[in-house]
Symmetry: C2
Subunit: 193 residues, 2 copies
DNA sequence: TCAATTTTGGACCGATGAGTCCGTAATTAC
DNA sequence: GTAATTACGGACTCATCGGTCCAAAATTGA
């Protein structure tokens, strides 16, 4: 009955996400979004509504993907490598040209959260989920003997969550992989002893 | 010989700083800067050159003030209250209407640093200064017996620097003073034991 | 008082921001 | 083939962006 859509909506969303993730909300122009998605202006507006709606859709896509990945990494296998891998996602760079993107939720905690309740709520939720997930993982490690710290698992998880944005900041400030790894090992050493 | 300037340059700079601190670079418009400083456009450009130059001047003013304050707080008096006070500067809110501004250097690590070498360099320098200063303070605490952790002072300092942006993110995400304080105490508990 | 100098307000600029709209092309069901 | 429907490109709007420029007002030293 109707002409079929020529582009892949999901694909376009991911392309837009890439730009928002790297540059943030304000610094991203419509023109860049059109270039990245390959859509025409009318298609983009018909599909996503507005810049802000597109941003929120992209952000939620990101959050969903990351949550899934975090569960996948943390809820199976030996605890210590799992936690290590979890943090490595943070500064695994797509291309080595520029600093890592870091975590988009943390980026948005800084950029939009203070002035935007919807974003703020999402950031809080992400931090909370991360704490819960890490708590379960650390409990698992303590039970298996892989982690020897006698502190409550939740306290240790809180410490990791607290340090998470620090690693992100270092990554975005251009610290080397070596330095990031050193900091990470230092942090994780607090899971023992 | 010449007509004297009607406004206080330094005062105007501080007003501009307030806006940049709260909203970041991109989200701050010239119009807002004019309103905040009370200057006319020509005066602002004659005095500060451009939006970017004004930003950098404001940023450097901020960094200088903060460094001075940090030294003042950390280099005298009992170590533990000193460190406590140091972190409290982070979420001491000017007015309780909105979330705390946090640390401008951290904000800029997220917003501009990835794409702007000049900003990046300043951020790295700030993190480094902070680590050095905290190292000295912790050493002092270990010598006086106020801090009982056997870990190297520099390692403990690195942990605090790593957690610093985390507290900032929580502050900007709207966490309560109570929650921030709990996290801070949890963090500082690692200075003992 | 007058000349020299400098600040100041506001008009003005081109570029770009996000967003709207419509004519045209393409695809489908019948 | 044709009618109905939808996607698409691009022209268009209006506001705001950062930034320039100039004429007028104000203050100073002499």
């Amino acid at each position: 009955m109707s002409r079929p859509q020529e582009f892949d909506t999901s694909e376009a969303l991911y392309q837009a996400l890439g730009v928002f993730w790297r540059k943030g909300y304000e610094a991203t122009s419509l023109t860049e979004l059109l270039t990245a998605t390959g859509l025409s202006k009318s298609s983009l507006y018909a599909t996503f509504g507005s810049k802000r709606e597109l941003f929120m859709a992209a952000f939620d896509t990101y959050r969903q993907d990351r949550a899934r990945a975090a569960h996948h990494v943390l809820e199976q296998g030996p605890v210590r490598p799992a936690i290590d891998a979890f943090f490595h996602q943070l500064f695994a760079n797509v291309n080595d040209a520029e600093p890592a993107f870091g975590c988009m939720s943390i980026n948005q905690a800084v950029e939009l959260a203070p002035h935007d309740a919807e974003v703020r709520q999402r950031v809080v939720q992400d931090l909370q989920s991360m704490e819960n997930l890490l708590t379960r993982t650390i409990e698992r490690g303590q039970q298996s003997g892989a982690l020897t710290s006698p502190r409550p698992a939740r306290d240790l998880a809180k410490l990791l969550v607290l340090a998470f944005p620090g690693l992100q900041v270092m990554a975005r400030a251009g610290y080397s992989t070596q330095q990031l790894n050193d900091s990470l090992q230092l942090l994780l050493s607090h899971l023992d002893g």
